[in-house]
Symmetry: D2
């Protein structure tokens, strides 16, 4: 059994890690850590864990933790993991970071979009971006995995085949993102409360979202050109789920079916990416609780544009699930290990 710990175990990302780790046959959770609620039992915060996880949240004690775990998940707010990860790496603990601290290779971009000082450059350069389907071979040997953001995961899996094939024009890409509220975390603010969110849809952070440079960095890598995207974000009155509707100008004349064929071929060995048939569109509920990314496609001949709809569960493929998928890769386990659960429907 590989021994793991979760730092930031009292947030939604942390609790989702625990749910999935519980069903993983090859790991044991040895440590659950929370700065803000240390000393509390997990079940005080989350009664649904009664009789399931009767552990007590501990404080961050580097020696104590490092001597008890092989791998650590960081489900911490922005700005935390860049401070506390280095000593764990020195002690040969593998680290999978669910925050944005190590995702951007260009530290200045981090400072601009996250309004915070960047991590040490050496670490930034050594961190491996954990979009499993694209960077599996690098992840295999990674010690510090920067687990992707939720929107970037849905977006990049959605555009990758068409962009790689140079069938769409990178400069034309527009991403209209919609997210459930759990992406905002378990934080009390007036904008988060039920009466404000229910029966409501609102746009937020348009043009200012910190996932913009992350997506552009990836598009640069895929296309070999400098990217500049329009990316908008909207809150939808649901708890889980992200949908990205993506628009791109076609550089070739092609049918919807040929486009679908390209996607199916590209992802033919990827269990977690499912491509829909023509005129069928994925719904967020069809991936709830699972690590799937479902993608629908249409070539609109009237406008010569490609429309892509990509959905994930933001807490699974967009966070905890992909983190576990990466742990599986690192340990050379089958990628589905602990992640084979069927979406909860309805």
């Amino acid at each position: 059994m590989v021994k793991v710990g979760v730092i930031g175990a009292n947030g939604y990302g942390g609790v989702e890690l625990l749910r999935l780790l519980k069903q993983h046959p090859l790991v044991s959770v040895e440590k659950v850590i929370s700065h803000s609620t240390q000393g509390c039992k997990l079940t005080e915060q989350y009664p649904h864990l009664n009789d399931v996880f009767e552990m007590t949240l501990e404080k961050i004690d580097i020696e104590e933790i490092a001597s008890n775990v092989d791998l650590l998940f960081f489900a911490t707010p922005s700005g935390v993991s860049k401070e506390i990860i280095p000593p764990f790496l020195e002690r040969k603990v593998k680290c999978i970071d669910l925050s944005g601290d190590f995702r951007l290779k260009d530290g200045l971009l981090y400072e601009k979009w996250y309004k915070n000082t960047q991590a040490k450059n050496e670490l930034l350069q050594n961190a491996t971006y954990g979009l499993t389907e694209l960077f599996r071979s690098e992840i295999k040997n990674g010690h510090l995995i920067a687990n992707p953001g939720c929107y970037p995961t849905a977006t990049i899996l959605g555009v990758y085949p068409a962009l790689k094939a140079k069938w769409i024009d990178q400069k034309s890409i527009i991403i209209d993102g919609k997210s459930g509220i759990s992406g905002a975390g378990r934080n009390a603010s007036i904008g988060n409360i039920f009466a404000e969110i229910n029966e409501n849809m609102k746009a937020y952070k348009i043009g200012l979202h910190q996932h913009i440079p992350e997506i552009e960095q990836l598009l640069n890598v895929i296309s070999g050109e400098e990217a500049r995207i329009s990316f908008t974000t909207h809150l939808v009155p649901m708890t889980r789920g992200i949908m990205c509707t993506i628009y791109g100008d076609l550089k070739v004349t092609i049918s919807t079916q040929k486009m679908i064929d390209l996607y199916k071929e590209t992802y033919k060995d990827e269990y977690f990416v499912r491509i829909r048939s023509a005129n069928e569109w994925p719904a967020t509920k069809e991936v709830t609780g699972s690590n799937f990314c479902d993608i629908g496609l249409r070539v609109d001949e009237r406008t010569n544009r490609l429309v892509i709809v990509s959905v994930i569960d933001n807490l699974v493929k967009g966070a905890a699930g992909q983190a576990i998928q990466n742990m599986n890769v690192i340990n050379a386990w089958h990628e589905k290990t602990g992640l084979a659960n069927v979406p909860l429907y309805p």
Copy 2:
């Protein structure tokens, strides 16, 4: 008192008309008509109308109706009003049609997108498109008003000032539409039931929606060029509300504030259109139950695109409310008459 009737009074559009007409001081509802549930009391279908509207749904009897009303609202499914409106017009009853039957001047487009035979061409040409803010003077003298669709209302009010000023490139316009489920009407289908919609978001009819030619017809009028838009539609787990997020390439270099100024100037005499300040975005709940259209704007200098977010209550400004606004124009009443209610928040 002007005497009015509602045909199709047992659908959501019809019931919303009744709600708003009840608070209108200058009209009396003389007839409520339903083909499918004639002979039933309204309150059997809608117990919330107990003691408010104790009328019985009647069948369509042209002479009987025409001799009792001055103006008729048609909240009927596609394909109905084109058949039953002509005799009412002959009898000098003014008609406001909430369906799509008379919106497209080109009958062939109707046939293509609605899969139905078109209305008589003479009527199509005489019908007045009822987007009040843009066509007030024509509506004033109209006898047959084609009340706009919900998505077109939000979209056109959203793009009009920038397009009219030629500040954006019409060919670049992309509209990402999101709608609550009431737009699908009070129809029982598996895709409509709560367990399928709740905690779910799905795309539908992408590139195939019948509002595409309606929007393009309007864009043609505004810009004087032939339009060809990308328009996608998504279902959001809420009952009321439409949000259109609209993207357009800028033809000029301009700041967000200057763009906002243009919109405020354009709509300065329009009570029902409200423009937000920079970095503030409208939410659908902020217009619930009201006839407002709220618009937020951002010029994204990184991509040289304009992003517009436009929201309405699909049953009010997107249907019944705008119909009443048009009735007010026809009768030379103040446009706010019967429409001054404050949004229901929260």
Copy 3:
């Protein structure tokens, strides 16, 4: 025009008062006051009020307020109005208090259930309990109205006819209450956020809710006996609406229809109370946004119990609407004035 003010105007109760006062033809809102957000414009807190209420929230300045209004609504948290109402009463300003500070005649009960010191006893005894349908004549001459709680309003209107007729046994009364989340106010707490409330139902404060002594006080008055009720409260994932399901042992042998007849007779002159037919049950949405209280009844012959289902909109008949109804009584206006709006459905 009667000049009114709202103290606590930045909470949900306050904003609902503003919505309804706007449609009231005989009053003008002269002052909106908020201790916590004084100096802000209402529209900063509530963008749905743009162009509708462009007032600035003021601080509590007794002389300034008293010289500008005839009547004040207090939509303040527990414990506030008992401190600030006395000087307004001295200055002949009529006060309608939506909090619980003046509802209990026995100040010790207030201290026990509200964990706070009681109001001055003289004021407690002079305050008029504002359940309009039952205490209209007292309210007419009242200077300080203690507007009822939301659960008590639904409960008392639900049991009154059967209890008054001595057809049910008071000691047997059990009230199972269910409420939407807006009753918890616009307060940020983890228990309130969307991700915790959506797709969830939870019980809270069972046997400990501060509405228990309020309901018992009323039952005492109606029956002339000392009451002792079981009262449970549950949160339902919706914004507005309260449903109380009430059980009582029958003291007489009676049919459901006779029971319904009794209720219809009792409330025959009450516009805001609607009694359903046998085997028809009210739904909370059927009263949304309106001042109605809808009641369904069943005599269960198998168990010899009466089951009553009573629904209101907690922010209207359960708070702001009833407050305005009381203002209408005080001013000898028709009770429906400003309250005739149709429920928002769907």
Copy 4:
């Protein structure tokens, strides 16, 4: 591997069986059967099953099915399984019926409450009622298991310890039930659609629900007395989850803590029943997707009543999960096999 089949696989109960069977290590699903959609692929009805269950729905062919499976689940509507189960039993296929056809020992009660002819009496008497925690030893040797209803499961687990101990008076028991909408199945009806259910709560079938005789039959067995309960049912705007709030007059003087101790002792070996501490109440979301039944308790000294709050996921412990738990018992497997998943939260 035990070979199983699911009849009625295209409803919510059937699909939930498939979700849970997929994660069960000791069974293989050999047959998925649907009368109404035979010949369709499961994924046409349920795209979330793409790449997970690529089976085709088959028609009911008794020989074909019986020769391929060891055990059959019936997730069929009322009235179906009583007709089709007998030939399977003759062919030694074990049958677990999720419908109500075999739950009532008194066939006349079935006829009265289900408005349908009863099953053959011999089968009724041989059927084993599958409330696992109470009837484990009988289930072990059962060939035909009548899987309990959702409300009865939550209710009986909730009242059993107190009633068995004779601490509450059976005649006083009142059950106020609240259910999510998935209990109504995947059926299109106007009462089921999102716009009618969302932001709404309604009572239904009060005093008429077919689970009344099922609960009473069980209470008779537990207490040895004839039971007669008040049972009301309400629809809550959520997809999954049932909460029963249960009231009973105490026959003994006892503290809340002693009551909790009794429950903890009674269920100390039951993994799936969790008892909360004093003043803590379970929420439906805390069991979502899991087979748990969570129970909270309060002795109200003011009224001398016990209040019990019992929650389950209606599709898991209230249907598919308990059916699998029973399959585990029949096969002498650990009861948690395939059912150890953590609730999905949030």
